[in-house]
Point group: C2
Chain length 139, copies 2
DNA sequence: TAATAACATACTAAATAGGTAGGTTGATTT
DNA sequence: AAATCAACCTACCTATTTAGTATGTTATTA
């Protein structure tokens, strides 16, 4: 299950992508628009700025903005930063010590297949696919 | 992440499928072969018997056996019983109260897509795909 | 009736999730 | 230079879940 950290992170990025026009957006604005506790949101934005998904600026006029184009934010990159890992089992985590039984492990291929299914999907979707596309046509 | 409950359950089912020949296999045997605490394993087998994936028989000569053919055990059915739900977000759980914001929720399609990717994969793999296939040929 | 083995209930320690509280640093405006 | 604003940082808290352990009770068979 994806925790609130990951889900809120996604909502925040959508919010910033849709409401910023290159400007910094204060956490305050985001929190009230998204109806999420300011303080809790803060702890999530720390992860996103440390992971270089957001740029933070202090002081008056400060806030957060995206560091790159929406097309460059894959769902996988967003969720990996907030959830830590998306691997369904510990032995498939990045940098996991190789399991001694891996060659005889009958369940490993299943977990690898599941991991690939999840990863492939999450890499195929970007923030650009999700945000409001202003439709420039009438009737 | 799949918990030990789900991982052990899968190992148990593989173990029974490979070692039973229609006989009941006592938990004791499985626990020692799989090197899992007997008592903890017991709590997992309760889930599997209640979920009709295993048949338990008490007393001497008792133990557990499969209730159906290995082809009929999808990974999804096994993991759903042990993990409770595989839905990546609460609003996609079976029997979840419909979310009021679902029509305007921009993140919902992403979670639905992820859910489908996971579900499709786990339904495509069965216990029969995993167990040892005795190869009846020589050199 | 003795041994066997599933079934049932209760408890525990450690980790994680989801938050809250308060203070500090840096940028901007007055 | 001072006041304000807003990100940043550290520490704490509560409830739930995970991964077990312990102690029985019931049903079956030799």
């Amino acid at each position: 299950m994806i925790s609130t950290r990951g889900r809120y992170a996604l909502r925040v990025l959508i919010d910033i992508a849709e409401n910023s026009n290159g400007n910094y957006i204060p956490l305050n604005d985001i929190a009230s628009r998204q109806d999420i506790s300011e303080k809790y949101l803060e702890s999530i934005l720390v992860l996103l700025t440390h992971g270089n998904l957001l740029n933070g600026l202090r002081g008056k006029g400060g806030g957060y903005k995206l560091t790159k184009a929406p097309e460059e934010y894959t769902m996988k990159s967003i969720l990996t930063i907030t959830e830590g890992t998306l691997a369904p089992v510990a032995c498939l985590k990045d940098g996991a010590e190789p399991c001694l039984k891996s060659s005889s492990c009958k369940t490993l291929p299943v977990w690898q297949g599941l991991n690939k299914a999840i990863t492939d999907y999450l890499e195929s979707v970007t923030l650009a696919d999700i945000i409001e596309k202003p439709d420039n046509y009438s009737i």
